[in-house]
């Protein structure tokens, strides 16, 4: 390679590099940066009489949003509880696959990926049947003698969310458990630590990064979730995603919607960085205490 990269060669190689990067650059600048910048600008505008955007500079969109924060708080509640539930369900499962499954490990992993590759929409619609009056809802109604409705409640939305995002939590946790060095567990046992102490002081710190990655992977799409509440919430559970959809496609109040979108991004940035800060701090503390 040496001695061959003379000036003309270098110029041609620079041209090749820019050609290779050109399409990605176009997409990132024109279809990512530019639209997001327009959204930020629109959020200060007013709704045009026939819908859309009209130039203005006002903070009214943010003002009304602060007066009615319900969809944001509900989204945060659902996203946080959904993430927690995913973590609680994923950990024992990942632990089982990593340590107990033996030869069936491969097939169990493939089985986890299949629902993930099949349509999100179809699986959610299927939950309508399962939770509805011909499924679990009806069964519970017969059992209790009361009319139990699961669809249209927060519970249905939570079930749908956990159902759809669980694999995103399982994989990172599984990967960290897979890397877990068994000899550490044995060493801990030899040093007289009980099962619980070993779990808390050896297993958990090692799995911690996987749980954090998983919870961020789950939390982020949950905050913008729109399909699950639309289908399982029967229009009664209103998350930010649903409000955004209404603002843009029904009432065509683009500036109000833009303000919500900007706020959503800010809320997510703040929550995720705060979460990372807290968990990293906690982790360092634990590492020190281990020494």
């Amino acid at each position: 390679m040496t001695g061959r990269s003379q000036a003309p060669g270098r110029a041609r190689s620079g041209l090749v590099t820019s050609l290779l990067l050109a399409p990605a650059t176009f997409w990132y600048l024109v279809l990512l940066v530019l639209p997001l910048a327009i959204v930020a600008i629109y959020s200060f505008g007013v709704r045009a009489p026939d819908g859309g955007y009209q130039t203005a500079f006002t903070f009214d969109n943010y003002g009304t949003l602060l007066k009615r924060p319900a969809p944001f708080t509900l989204s945060l509640v659902i996203a946080i509880s959904g993430t927690l539930l995913c973590g609680l369900l994923a950990f024992p499962l990942a632990y089982f696959i990593a340590t107990r499954a033996g030869k069936r490990k491969g097939i169990l992993l493939v089985l986890l990926i299949i629902p993930f590759w099949t349509s999100f929409l179809i699986r959610t619609i299927s939950l309508v049947i399962i939770l509805g009056s011909d499924g679990i809802g009806g069964f519970l109604s017969d059992l209790t003698g009361q009319n139990v409705q699961i669809l249209g409640t927060m519970w249905a939305v939570l079930i749908g969310i956990v159902y759809n995002y669980l694999p995103l939590m399982i994989f990172p946790v599984y990967v960290t458990l897979e890397r877990l060095d068994r000899t550490l567990l044995e060493a801990s046992k030899d040093l007289g630590a009980g099962r619980w102490a070993t779990f808390r002081q050896v297993t958990l710190p090692i799995v911690w990064p996987g749980l954090i990655t998983g919870s961020i992977l789950v939390f982020i799409p949950l905050m913008g979730e729109y399909v699950v509440p639309a289908i399982l919430g029967n229009g009664k559970v209103f998350l930010i995603g649903n409000v955004l959809q209404l603002d843009f496609l029904s009432s065509r109040d683009w500036p109000a919607g833009s303000a919500k979108a900007v706020t959503l991004i800010l809320v997510m940035l703040v929550t995720v960085s705060f979460y990372l800060w807290v968990t990293n701090r906690g982790r360092r503390g634990r590492e020190v205490s281990l020494l």
Partner: protein, 315 residues
């Protein structure tokens, strides 16, 4: 006393064993329950698509394939299926080509420029789909207005040419996300690649193009195929972005299915859903098969070589 002590030790050991077997049993039960939870909806969709009823979905009337016949002869379903497949394929081709190109290009640029692209890649993946959807809608609407005003201004007489949202807008929006996905997959593969082969190829006076074709490309192939498959299934399955930027006549299958649920799910919807399942699963299994055969032939080359392993590795 001594007897008593050893007795207690024995009984506590028995207690521990019992606790252990309870915990083990619970692990097993938990795992099984989650697998049932994950697969039950898929099974339900497929089973009820064969329902012979004429009324509604859960009213079981024996096995029948009539809903498949009805769904597949429905011209709207045919058109939407065609839209979904063509959008998915064009999107996958563009995203795979451009993502791979970008991954190769980023190897050749200074670190600072690379971190700029990295930031954009992560932003495009992390931002909620619905925000991307509404932002692209705003962009396309603005473009459409400007373009149509321009066409009106240059048309002297007759009907001016008009642009509207359509398949192109869905494709442009889908490629953004998928390009980043392919970029990450191919870069992961590139970083795990053996440089010595490339150096050897140059030492043997191969041109850069020939080196790429004969050394780099075959090693990248698993990542490229995985990226292609992921891009296709993402697009084929996407509802959120498509619902914002689809134009008249460019309705896709997920939009059709979502619309059906508003009027109550029928076995026909289930039949369409089952067809979608078969399409994605065929692609997944086919890709897995092709790649594992290919990696056997070329002797692997380290790292994940099948799309399934690739996805698992990425997450």
């Amino acid at each position: 006393m001594a007897i008593n002590k050893s007795n207690r030790a024995r009984s506590s050991a028995a207690g521990r064993d019992r606790l252990k077997s309870v915990v083990e049993g619970w692990f097993r039960f938990h795992t099984a329950a989650i697998y049932v939870f994950l697969f039950l909806p898929i099974v339900v969709v497929v089973v009820f698509s064969f329902n012979g009823t004429d009324r509604y979905l859960t009213d079981w009337h024996g096995l029948s394939i009539k809903w498949y016949q009805r769904a597949l002869s429905d011209t709207q379903v045919q058109r939407d299926l065609w839209n979904s497949v063509s959008i998915g394929i064009i999107n996958a081709i563009l995203a795979t080509a451009f993502g791979t190109m970008a991954a190769l290009g980023l190897q050749r640029v200074p670190k600072r420029l690379r971190s700029f692209y990295d930031a954009l890649t992560y932003v495009s993946i992390i931002i909620p789909e619905i925000v991307i959807a509404l932002a692209t809608l705003i962009l396309f609407a603005g473009f459409q207005n400007t373009a149509n005003q321009f066409f009106v201004s240059i048309t002297a007489e007759g009907k001016p040419f008009r642009v509207g949202l359509g398949q192109w807008s869905i494709i442009l929006a889908h490629v953004l996300f998928n390009l980043s996905l392919v970029l990450l997959l191919v870069r992961a593969r590139l970083s795990g690649m053996d440089r010595t082969l490339v150096d050897a190829s140059y030492d043997l006076f191969a041109t850069p193009w020939r080196t790429f074709r004969q050394i780099t490309f075959p090693q990248l192939l698993p990542a490229i195929v995985a990226g292609f498959l992921l891009s296709f299934t993402f697009s084929f399955d996407d509802y959120v972005i498509s619902s914002f930027v689809a134009g008249v006549g460019s309705q896709t299958l997920p939009l059709y299915i979502f619309g059906q649920t508003k009027q109550g799910v029928t076995p026909e919807t289930n039949a369409v859903a089952a067809v979608m399942l078969v399409v994605t699963l065929t692609i997944l299994v086919g890709g897995q098969f092709l790649l594992s055969r290919q990696s056997k032939r070329t002797g692997g080359g380290g790292g994940a070589t099948t799309p399934i392993a690739m996805v698992a590795e990425q997450t």
